[in-house]
Amino acid sequence: MAVVLAIGTMKGAWVARSHDRSSWDLSGPYLRGWEVTTFGRAPGGDYLLATGSSWYGAAIHRSPDLEDWQQVVDGPAYHADAGRKLERIWTLTGVGERLYAGVAEAGLFTSDDDATTWQPVDGLNEHPTREHWQPGAGGLALHRLLTDPADSSRMWAAISAVGVLATTDGGTTWELRDSGVTPVIPSDQPGHCVHCIVADPDDADAIWRQDHRGVYRTADGGRSWEQIQNGVPGSGFGFPIARDPATGHLFIVPLESDEYRLPVDGRLMVYRSANGGDTWEESGKGLPADRVYTGVLRGAMDVDGTDPGGIYFGTTGGEVWASADTAESWQRLPVTFPRVLSVKVLDA
């Protein structure tokens, strides 16, 4: 079982390759010194990654081989009259021959020419509620886009701290879908701090959500949500949520609370649900037993889609952990990276 794992950090990207999901060969850093915020694939097959910098802004880069990277010149960019800055690119999502880039300040851009040129998705970027959108601690960011494999006109965008917006017409119009989720600040305006969402590829209306206020799920495409953090330590706060499509297992990383954002009791734990979130249990052996005070960011966990499931995550302390048995056991890659922003399975 061969896996190519991309690791984006505050200071560049690395690529880890394994033929058995046990031993790993590491290459990098690529884009040395740049924040690498996410990865993707272009319809033509090129690998993509996004860089960011507090000095130099954000851009997309492409490579045919994960070695030689070339910046996309006409990448996502707000027009001057939009009054917004493109600070980071947090997701690169493909839908057939079309690509989407979710960015901060929150917005969505699309490309129909293999990631060469990009246009704003005005239906979302100029949403009627936009004037009321507020940033979370990580900024005002569109960080995850889910699509319906059976119907490319249906998508769900997660924006912190706004909520989940859904479209059924290919992005022309979007509606907020947060009913049942506790807002961060009670108000009649959008104010839901969704941290991450993941869907069942066989049923796009089945979505799971790691929110500022806990863990939620919906069976109707976000029209109604129920809280499902039963048995999860802490307040339900956390950032990533991943779902192994091969086995249906869900994975989260509980943190103490939104105030402290530390592992509960100083233990780096991955919690796992085998029944769609009805119940949760601590995953298996291998993670340090105590005295760990790093977290896992929303884009820093991914799965490889095989059975038994391969699960991977990186920490703010620069560790990358892997499991090849649906989180029965964990193995740490023998390297310490800078703060890990993104972990993505590019080939499996």
Partner: protein, 89 residues
């Protein structure tokens, strides 16, 4: 037209797989920037913001003086330097 020495930050030079220092022919600072972006179009987005002004944490020097506008004329031997501002901790 003047022959002007240009220096760009190493992170930007690495991005375009080019030299940090090179020379361009231009009559004004604006034309120097145009020459830089003509040679390396990837750099425009990293130096200028959405309004065409210098990014907040990017500095531009003409010889020893920091400038924020581009209308100044340049002479043979002048240096135009793009620097990463010392900001951000």
């Amino acid at each position: 037209m003047a022959l002007v020495k240009v220096a760009i930050p190493s992170m930007l030079a690495t991005l375009v797989k080019g030299d940090r220092r090179f020379e361009v022919e231009a009559a004004t600072v604006a034309a120097v920037l145009d020459e830089i972006f003509g040679r390396h179009p990837e750099l425009r987005v990293h130096v200028l913001d959405e309004n065409g002004g210098l990014r907040r944490h990017v500095m531009l020097f003409l010889n020893d003086g920091a400038i924020r506008t581009y209308h100044r004329t340049v002479d043979d031997g002048d240096s135009v330097t793009i620097l990463q501002a010392v900001s951000g901790g």
